[in-house]
């Protein structure tokens, strides 16, 4: 039983699938940036006489996702028509699955080991995306617009709708759920899961339990375009509903839009139109019948799931949960890391370097790891030099910059660093040490008068020399020379 006044959150998530072609025609799924109404054909425009033919790949992708969630795959399912008039829907019905979805049940883990929670999945089904309307009104709404423009480039792009049970208790759990699902579809390679671009869209149903713990009136919140927006919208909505109830008012069953700029949810103005979608089986599409072999084939094609991979990273490479989480957030990063391990890199050092240096570069350049020029082999060459002490951390960072910019191996980068002999040693090094000590006379005095019990100042000097040598000196030799001079 739930406590009174507890939030109960369920999510409906639409995931656009990267199937190459649309759900029922050969048009591309890659429509972003295309001139409006150029990524269309008679079928996805719903021209009279045209007929849909199901894209096999969309079925494969959805089945794989269902299997990864532990859902039961329906071997005989069908498509329905959801009828309603709207200019972005060229046939005036959306082909969707209704009474018999492609997958039923399953679950998605949220939270970390100690407080892991498995959120149950209600269903997963296939449907087609609609076009996009651009309203001329300043508030972007149809009602106040003098005219509206419609772009059908997106119409017919395959969607998976994934519905969770209302088992999420907080906005942060909801956020975690969406982020885990996003991670999953990225690992499966079925979607880019980009909320900002709209390839992953979340609607949330939220209610507060009543005094006896019974379920309250459900409000649907839409239009959250990022994980943060989702969390904020839910926080706002919980507070709003609590206030409402606190004033003794009733919660209205309605759909509310999240306004990210204002940080509020707004009810749809005027009367909510009760929709009767007049669902009925689409007579243009025979039942979708899948063989057991087909489903097993999809199961064989499943990669290691991200949460399993994360646990393995912790177990096998002794990474912290945080490191493992970051490295398994995106499949490309995880793959890069694993390649480094296979190249013999120190797991902790590789993890640390990828988390900090590699990801910093990716962020700065706004590229994905797939577009990152430096191969794991070259990258590991650098890590190996750090491991043996041949290259100091400071120098390594400089070399890394060069290697990334010019796609160099560590040796090539060292050559370019302007130290052809590679090493500063012997008399050259002794000269360099003296030069540094000359500049740091104060520190030298302090050491010599016994004010460096912990050896920190000595290390400081050592670091200065290393920097002076652009990392080309051996730290051991530097310490030896320093000792000779200072302890004289």
């Amino acid at each position: 039983m739930r406590k009174p006044n507890t939030p109960v959150i369920g999510l409906e998530i639409h995931v656009q699938m990267k199937t190459g072609s649309k759900l029922f025609c050969a048009c591309s799924t890659d429509y972003i940036g295309a001139v409006p109404n150029t990524n269309v054909c008679p079928v996805c425009l719903g021209l009279p006489g045209t007929l849909p033919v199901v894209n096999r790949k969309a079925v494969e992708y959805a089945v794989r996702t269902g299997l990864a969630l532990g859902s039961r795959i329906g071997l005989s399912t069908r498509f329905h028509r959801k009828n309603y008039f709207y200019p972005d829907l060229p046939k005036a019905y959306q082909i969707s699955q209704y009474d018999v979805p492609l997958a039923v049940g399953g679950h998605l883990p949220i939270g970390e080991e100690q407080d892991r929670k498995w959120i149950r999945i209600t269903r997963l089904h296939l449907e087609e995306d609609a076009g996009k309307l651009v309203h001329s009104a300043r508030d972007g709404r149809l009602g106040n617009s003098e005219y509206s423009l419609v772009d059908y480039n997106r119409g017919g792009v395959p969607l998976m709708e994934i519905v969770s049970e209302p088992e999420l208790a907080t906005p942060s759990e909801a956020r975690d759920f969406v982020s885990r699902l996003r991670q999953l579809v990225r690992f499966l390679g079925v979607s880019d899961g980009d909320m900002e671009k709209g390839s992953l869209r979340v609607d949330a149903n939220i209610s507060l339990t009543g005094p006896d713990g019974e379920l309250g009136t459900k409000v649907e919140v839409k239009n959250m375009n990022s994980l943060r927006a989702l969390e904020r919208a839910l926080e706002y909505e919980i507070a709003r509903q609590q206030e409402c109830l606190g004033r003794g008012e009733r919660i209205l069953q309605e759909t509310r839009h999240w306004d990210d700029g204002k940080g509020v949810t707004c009810g749809t103005r005027g009367k909510e139109e009760a929709h009767d979608y007049r669902y009925f089986p689409d007579p243009d599409l025979p039942p979708l019948v899948l063989s057991r072999d087909f489903v097993e084939e999809q199961r064989r094609l499943l990669p290691e799931l991200p949460w399993d991979l994360k646990e393995r990273f912790v177990r096998e490479h002794r990474l912290s949960i945080e490191d493992a989480s970051v490295l398994t957030e995106l499949p490309g990063i995880a793959k890069y890391y694993e390649k480094c391990i296979r190249e013999g890199a120190n797991p902790l050092r590789a993890a640390n370097w990828i988390r900090t240096e590699v990801m910093r570069v990716l962020n700065e350049k706004r590229i994905s790891i797939e577009a990152f020029a430096l191969s794991p082999e070259k990258f590991c060459g650098l890590l190996a030099r750090i491991e043996t002490g041949a290259v100091s951390t400071t120098l390594a960072k400089e070399l890394f910059e060069k290697m990334v910019d010019e796609n160099l191996s560590v040796d090539e980068a060292l050559k370019k660093a302007g130290s052809p002999s590679g090493k500063v040693t012997g008399d050259d090094l002794r000269k360099m040490v003296n030069l540094v000590l000359e500049r740091e006379r104060l520190t030298v005095e302090e050491i010599q008068t016994g004010k460096d019990a912990k050896g920190k100042k000595r290390s400081f000097l050592c670091g200065l020399v290393m920097r002076e040598s652009k990392g080309q000196a051996d730290p051991g030799e530097v310490r030896k020379i320093l000792a000779e001079i200072l302890d004289r």
Partner: protein, 483 residues
């Protein structure tokens, strides 16, 4: 000349395709002002296509199995860049950017399309009076209707515009006008002929099929039309036979013909009863046996079942005509106004009636009582036919309960109009093939039709039986003094 003869003459280079086409055009010019079977003539285009065939002959290239055969096609079949109106104001000037698969099949086979034929708006009707543009006359009595909804195609073949025509049949729209106009009309098994490019009325019932004035032409046309089509998910992938190969048999020995007991007491005009008896005698003479079969649910539930399911699908199929993308678009104040005005102006009364019915039976609260019950009845009807075909190879049935009625006779009584489909629509519900053939003429000179109904994929049996009748009665005559 029928299609088979034309193909021969053209392939042997005895008559150029352009000459055949020219003659057909001449014939149309001579009588179409009276019959009004064509909505859009395509004469120039046809002559160009015919010239292409002649060039192929000249260069010894295969011109295809329908080389030079003039055809007319119902105006709900899309032809690239040409008007495809569906007999509706809504699509008055709409030109699709693609060809229907069957049009492609025909033209690849060398057929020459002469024009688009008149029809009841969106194929809804049984008289071609629901055309938004003008009614078509029955060539045998111009005061009467040619049947519908493919009335233009049937009348065109009856008058000898072309030896072949295409229609579509959702509840009898090929067979009923074939009977009214005294020609052959074949509704193939659901899934045999592609629906891609056929503007949908009721997707689970619609099939495209041919009209002709000879059985061999019907078989020849079916060979071309029945190609499997990956663009239509309901197109069957089974291998198609050569439909002309079943012809030319000496007799029908061993053929079992079923007669539906429940139809015995159904009110049918006496001329049609007599025609059924005549055909029975001919088939018996050819060696066929007759057996009684029973279709109680079909008789009881067929009509209401059809008039729930077909409008339900139509209400959804026709929802796309909203004035936003193509077709007419009314001047309007806002979105709802645009929908209401466009659809108010664009659709005729019968289409509106069916959209309303269909919307109603799919609405929440009524779905279970109407749509679902009708779906169950449909399954029962299919099963009943399947069982009947355990005892019979084909069924002999009336095509219609009456002879061609007068123009305007049923215009104010939709139920009477719907009743004219009572023998044809169960065949669509069960997805079976049905062939309507001419069995002679009434004393007043009106054609009298009957139909053969076969099991799924049983087209060959229907063609063979029709040929046996043709051998006795001869090929159907040409109306209005044509040959």
């Amino acid at each position: 000349m029928n299609a088979v003869e034309i193909v021969k003459a053209v392939k042997d280079a005895r008559i150029p395709a352009t000459e055949i086409t020219g003659k057909a055009i001449e014939r149309i010019r001579q009588v179409d002002s009276e019959v009004r079977a064509l909505l859009t003539p395509l004469f120039e285009r046809a002559l160009e296509k015919a010239a292409e065939i002649d060039r192929k002959i000249e260069h010894n290239q295969d011109p295809g199995p329908l080389a030079g055969v003039p055809v007319v096609v119902k105006d709900n079949l899309c032809m690239r860049g040409l008007k495809t109106t569906c007999g509706s104001r809504m699509l008055e000037n709409w030109c699709p950017p693609y060809d229907a698969s069957v049009i492609r099949f025909l033209e690849e086979a060398g057929a020459v399309v002469l024009g688009k034929t008149n029809m009841d708006e969106f194929a809804m009707g049984s008289s071609t009076e629901n055309s938004a543009f003008f009614p078509t006359a029955n060539p045998w009595d111009r005061e009467r209707v040619p049947g519908g909804s493919s009335g233009g195609s049937a009348a065109a073949v009856a008058c000898g515009y072309a030896p072949l025509a295409l229609g579509s049949d959702t509840g009898g729209s090929i067979r009923q006008p074939a009977a009214f106009c005294g020609v052959y009309g074949l509704k193939p098994t659901y899934g045999l002929v592609s629906r891609f490019g056929l503007v949908a009325f009721a997707s689970s019932l619609d099939q495209v099929g041919p009209f002709s004035r000879s059985v061999e032409d019907l078989a020849l046309a079916l060979n071309v039309l029945s190609r499997p089509d990956p663009a239509d998910a309901t197109s069957s992938r089974r291998k198609r036979p050569d439909y002309t190969a079943c012809l030319g048999k000496d007799d029908l020995k061993g053929l079992k013909v079923g007669v539906v007991t429940e139809f015995e007491n159904y009110p049918v005009q006496p001329e049609i009863r007599e025609a059924l008896a005549k055909i029975e005698a001919i088939l018996r003479g050819a060696g066929a046996e007759f057996v009684p079969v029973s279709l109680p649910a079909t008789i009881e539930a067929g009509l209401p079942c059809y008039y729930i399911l077909a409008p339900a699908e139509a209400s959804s199929n026709l929802a796309r005509y909203d004035g936003v993308r193509y077709g007419i678009s009314a001047k309007a104040e806002n979105l709802m106004d645009l929908y209401m005005k466009t659809r108010g102006l664009g659709f005729g009364p019968e289409v509106k009636r069916r959209i309303l019915t269909g919307t109603y039976v799919l609405s929440s609260g009524y779905y279970d009582a109407y749509y679902l019950v009708a779906q169950k009845a449909r399954i029962r009807i299919s099963r009943e036919f399947r069982e009947a075909f355990l005892h019979a190879d084909l069924l002999l049935m009336p095509t219609t309960p009456t002879l061609p009625f007068r123009k305007g006779e049923h215009q104010d009584d939709p139920i009477q109009m719907y009743l004219s489909d009572v023998f044809t629509l169960p065949v669509n519900l069960a997805g079976l093939p049905g062939l309507s053939l001419n069995a002679g003429y009434s004393s007043s000179g009106l054609p009298v039709g009957v139909q053969f109904v076969g099991p799924k994929w049983g087209e060959e049996t229907l063609l063979a039986a029709a040929e046996a009748v043709e051998r006795v009665l001869g090929k159907p005559a040409c109306a209005l003094g044509g040959d």
